[in-house]
Symmetry: C2
């Protein structure tokens, strides 16, 4: 293998939970970083962030921020991504966007590298990183889908506080302290107390009563799998876990899918770690999934209610594989295939 | 209505969480108590428990405990129920048993008063109170089943710590304190830390990989509904909630079931409280279900993956409706129908 090109990278939304994880992953996975620019809103500008022994200063994003950049990893929310996308593409950089802004755009590939890596090749400047809950499910069930197409998915999720950001995680801790001290919990980030409680995911509801998070699981899974009419339903629930999401997934196939075969497939599937110790009732748990790259999958069972059904259970780190790691994996795919369009002027002085 | 007979009642397992709730409910619902005897193991004997202004002393259960008793409310676990059932029945008393010991016994009615009240009439001395998770689901879905038979149920549960007893509830609090103080959580009641975590229900697994809790949902629902081949599958999960269980339930019917009709039916169903404020994303939550008699049901939606499917979400107090209240309701049914077999000697001095 030839020495990879090295890239000038910007992280847009560098001070958030996903931004911090992106920094860690670029270093950990030795992504060929030529230069790293940290961008954020004016509120976070000036913050100092360590990266590989250096200290980087967060800059406020502006019209010229992307002029000398090859690759932008964006995780600053949909409106920020929408506001800067055309500037990024015009500057000749590639944007891997963590927000939901472009996910369902027909021109934008929506990629889980373990599922549809080839989709990156069609990019026109923007590649979307799917919703966290969707990524975790896709990694776990696609290997089965490849062997026998999935007919229907019924999912119920158990989503941690950190899915709503670092402040939400802190809120659950503070509320827990309050309740343990006999005081009333104060909800700010979430509409209702989450400590020692749970509630249906509080994203906006559509007319059919599905929240945005649930519709992401439906629509994004269809797009990623390339099955526009895939039958998916979901109930998304926020639980008082700090980090990592869990999901109970019921799958239907056209004919029986043996548990033994499913287990065999998932024990070798990329991005999956089979966690099943039936003797000690030990299966995926969010505290163990936290910080891990792999999606932990277990409790693979024949569905008692359907001859062609399988049940499975997963826990996965939604900040890592559900967001930052998936984005960095996409960047790696792009780099390996020479799909990061390094502008002419950038080619000058490029190592490699 | 004639003045009801008054009964000599024993609570077996009086010092547990369900026992305490039984005492509250007998008082609150003005059940005609002639005399109340509190029974427990030797460990708890001698404890003093307040009841309607008096103080009752807990007695150690023995061979003669049931001689002067008409009705026994048992909530001391399966082995205790098995050990004393024949003594209770021989003494001429009726036993309403909260344990799983007799639930699947063909001679023993398994009763949810909102679902199969007539089953009490067939009792031969023992009536079983179903599993908490099963009761909550049955109350919520039976009204729909009456209008159009349910073909299939896919359930995922979110079960609170108190389902494993008061000590488990305390354990979650202690573990939460430890974690918030930067210390390691100590699991004792549960095999793994539950604070800020969750895991598949830790009851014993069968060969198909289903835990006991899940099989209770399958088998008990079939028996209560009187549909031996009802298709049910479930994933039961323990979550760091102190009290009240929640469930995401997917239902399939033979033909479409309109959301409007389901909502109308459930808004009037006995034991159900419809909790749906779509504007403010407000639905059933365990902290609000705690202490309530009704099962809170909401988020009734057309299943996006099946033309004949419905999705719903519930939270219910598993100690109250899921155990003690259901038992007291059974006692009320028995009393109203003269089905508490008051022994000859007991008839002497009976009021009413």
């Amino acid at each position: 293998m030839s020495l990879p090109q090295s890239y000038r990278i910007a992280i847009l939304g560098a001070t958030g939970a996903v931004g911090a994880e992106l920094l860690d992953l670029l270093a950990e996975r030795q992504f060929p970083v030529k230069r790293l620019k940290l961008l954020a809103s004016s509120r976070s500008a000036g913050q100092r962030v360590p990266f590989q022994g250096e200290e980087l200063v967060v800059e406020e994003v502006n019209e010229r921020s992307f002029d000398d950049i090859d690759l932008v990893l964006a995780s600053a929310g949909g409106s920020t991504s929408k506001a800067w996308a055309s500037k990024i593409v015009e500057a000749g950089a590639v944007m891997i966007d963590n927000s939901s802004a472009f996910r369902m755009d027909a021109q934008v590939p929506l990629v889980v590298p373990e599922v549809n890596p080839d989709a990156v090749a069609t990019h026109q400047g923007i590649i979307a990183n799917p919703n966290c809950t969707t990524i975790l499910m896709a990694v776990a069930i696609y290997p089965l889908h490849q062997v026998q197409p999935i007919q229907r998915i019924v999912a119920a999720t158990y989503q941690s506080a950190s899915g709503a950001g670092a402040r939400a995680m802190e809120e659950v801790k503070q509320q827990s302290k309050a309740i343990l001290a006999g005081e009333a919990p104060q909800p700010e980030v979430f509409p209702y107390p989450l400590a020692f409680n749970l509630f249906p995911h509080n994203s906006p509801l559509n007319e059919a009563g599905y929240c945005e998070e649930e519709m992401k699981m439906v629509n994004e899974t269809r797009k990623i799998f390339g099955v526009p009419d895939l039958r998916v339903t979901a109930t998304c629930v926020r639980v008082p876990v700090l980090r990592a999401h869990s999901e109970a997934i019921n799958l239907e196939f056209a004919t029986p899918f043996s548990v033994a075969q499913a287990r065999e497939i998932l024990s070798q599937a990329p991005g999956v770690k089979l966690v099943e110790d039936w003797q000690s009732n030990y299966f995926p748990m969010p505290i163990e999934a936290s910080g891990q790259d792999a999606v932990l999958v277990g409790r693979i069972r024949q569905d008692l209610s359907h001859p062609n059904g399988l049940e499975l259970w997963l826990s996965g780190d939604q900040i890592r594989k559900g967001a930052a790691l998936n984005a960095v994996q996409i960047a790696e795919l792009l780099a390996a295939q020479g799909l990061i369009r390094v502008p002419e002027r950038a080619a000058v002085g490029t190592k490699g």
